[in-house]
Amino acid sequence: MKKQLEDIGLVLSILLGVLLTYYLVRANIVSLTYGNIPLANLYLLSVPDPSSPFTSRSPEVVTSVVWDQRGYDTYFETSVLFLAIIGVLYAAGSSSLVEKGSLIATVIPRVITKLLFPVIIAVAISVALHGHLTPGGGFQGGSIFAVAPYMYLLIYGRSRLEGKGFRSNLLLFMRSLAVVLISLVGSIVLAIGFLTGVEAFLFQNQPKPPFSPIGFPAYIQLPWGGIFLFSGTLMILNVLEFTAVSTGFTLALIVIDSIAGGRE
């Protein structure tokens, strides 16, 4: 009886999902033919185009929208992650953090961890630094970076990771510093505009000619010719977000591992 009830519930829930998607298809929200949506075209055409007033001077539309057009929103999203980690720290309390020998640390993972550590960090930094040019960005780079200290933590234990400089106090400090710096970078144009008496916006990147004449530079001329493109705040914010996310993940994993992992 119980079993049949469960099956009926399953079928009903599938039907619910199908009904939802039927609505989406019927309302032409999901469709294969409907291209050239105005909002999409606005972003796709204006973000990489230096002559447009809404430009970010960056070929990467997603990261530009995340940090430029929607920067205020993303800042609070980063804060949510930050608060979650603070919450984890508080909920963890002050339990005794006894170091136990790792059960999986045979010689093979010990050496391979050391070998892959720098490779993963190099890749993560590359992903974060090219966030405004290729897919990726601070968040993605940070989540790749977290592999390296986590692997080290699983194999060698917490005290050796702390010996490498990944101490919880330092990580928390870096994380907070990065969040503070993100808000500082976001409000710097506003502050200048306030001081000089011209109009400016929170998380403004490039100058927006009819509305606001000031903003960050997008590139610098290199002494050996050519330009070095950093798209105003995008690269700075990506690097800061990279710091915030990588240290935050590392910290959360260290804390959870020392609470839930070290038992035998």
């Binding site: 119980k2 399953l10 990261t63 897919p135 990726g136 968040f139 993605q140 989540s143 839930a260």
Partner: protein
């Protein structure tokens, strides 16, 4: 230009994801369900690649496959591994 094989692959993946969810529903071993949810994120990541969302792809793999599984395994250490019928 024929993305047919790619569409076919992602259609297969989405069907397998549905199968995996039903499997999760009926599986008693919670450790297995955590691994299946990792597989599910692989299935979805192929859909993300096919529908051209590379930014999400990276974030999604790192989180769905790795971090979620690791964190859920920590949660599972708090209690029993097998679910009994209610």
């Amino acid at each position: 230009m024929s993305p047919l094989i790619i569409l076919l692959l992602s259609a297969f993946s989405s069907v397998m994801a549905l199968v995996a969810t039903i499997k999760i529903l009926y599986e008693r071993d919670v450790l297995k369900t955590i691994i299946i949810s990792g597989v599910e994120s692989l299935f979805y990541s192929i859909i993300l690649a096919a529908f051209l969302a590379p930014d999400l792809l990276i974030a999604y793999i790192a989180i769905g496959l790795g971090l979620n599984s690791a964190i859920l395994l920590y949660a599972l250490r708090g209690g029993e591994r097998f679910e009994e019928a209610a």
